[in-house]
Symmetry: C2
Subunit: 200 residues, 2 copies
């Protein structure tokens, strides 16, 4: 029943990339339209406002990330190895964007959330939902590990899940500010191992 959402999809696709690289305020609707080959009327036909576009972008990213987590959790590996492989995926993305454009951009949710939290309750709220869901994903991975005996039975999976999300955000900020994928990786690995209680 999907009619002509082609233009809408193209706008979201372009905006996803541009929002990641430039942030919200530094990005104009005009440029999004130009790169998407759409006119402003089309833009405002599909999205009531720039803010709503950002919301749609976040939802789209979230959908992608759901898929990525599902794939990671379906891997035939020990539970903790799956967790580490989710980190490895982030390192790879970070390295790739750095190779392509000379810059590390960190976590798209964290970057947008950090910029927009103070003045867009809607976007802040949505990103908070994503964060909450991510915590749950990490916690579930840790509980898998507990079930398989890879972690002690009294391991505090909930606290650790949140700590892992904080680690991801922290390493993203460091990677972005130092502009170093390697440092992002080192920081992430070090903290992850400490959380899993295998201090170097």
């Amino acid at each position: 029943m999907e009619t002509r959402t082609e233009t809408r999809d193209k706008i979201i696709q372009v905006a996803t990339d541009l929002l990641y690289r430039r942030g919200y305020e530094a990005l104009g609707v005009k440029e999004i339209c130009q790169r998407a080959g759409a006119s402003k009327s089309s833009f405002y036909h599909f999205f009531p406002s720039k803010e709503d576009l950002a919301l749609a972008v976040i939802d789209g990213r979230w959908h992608e990330v759901r898929g990525a987590f599902a794939m990671v959790r379906a891997q035939d590996l020990p539970a903790l190895a799956r967790l580490r492989s989710s980190f490895a995926m982030m390192y790879q993305i970070s390295r790739q964007t750095h190779d392509e454009s000379g810059q590390v951009f960190g976590c798209p949710f964290g970057s947008l959330g950090s910029e927009l939290a103070p003045f867009s309750p809607r976007l802040r709220g949505r990103i908070a939902e994503v964060f909450s869901w991510m915590e749950g994903q990490y916690r579930a991975m840790l509980e898998d590990a507990i079930t398989k005996g890879e972690l002690p039975a009294d391991f505090a999976a909930e606290t650790a899940g949140r700590a892992i999300l904080a680690t991801v955000q922290g390493m993203s900020v460091l990677g972005k500010v130092y502009n170093s994928p390697e440092l992002l990786q080192q920081t992430g690995d070090a903290l992850l191992e400490v959380i899993l209680n295998r201090a170097a």
Copy 2:
């Protein structure tokens, strides 16, 4: 020999607050001038550009933070207690801004860095310097603790110093996005204790 730097100081003071609360792009030079009671000619007399003002703001913040760290490290407390008290200071600030304005704003360096890293090499570089210095501060605190026997002699202070900075940035992003000073504190404490190897 200081002449009339009063206006300049006022601009920096106002901009420090506004940059923290609103970020870089969402903040206009006009508003800074109005709130500082200065005219645009004054602004551009003292600062070649908005970017240079941001640089001055960062330097000013850094100067303040230097003082704060010096005070913390001068406290007559066990070394690790001093480290924890530096975290407590951040919790207090986070709670205070939340009480005053209903919003957690996280770390000023991290927020600015995250927003500006992709398109202002100068600001990114300066914030990277600040980060590097902070790592050093944390490492020094940890080395104090090692010297005093509060940490084992083989404790990896350098890696842990960076991990602590990452923790600070991670908890700041979570606190900002969840808009919760309590969650910021819980996350920070949990991660700090894990790093110090007293896992809950």
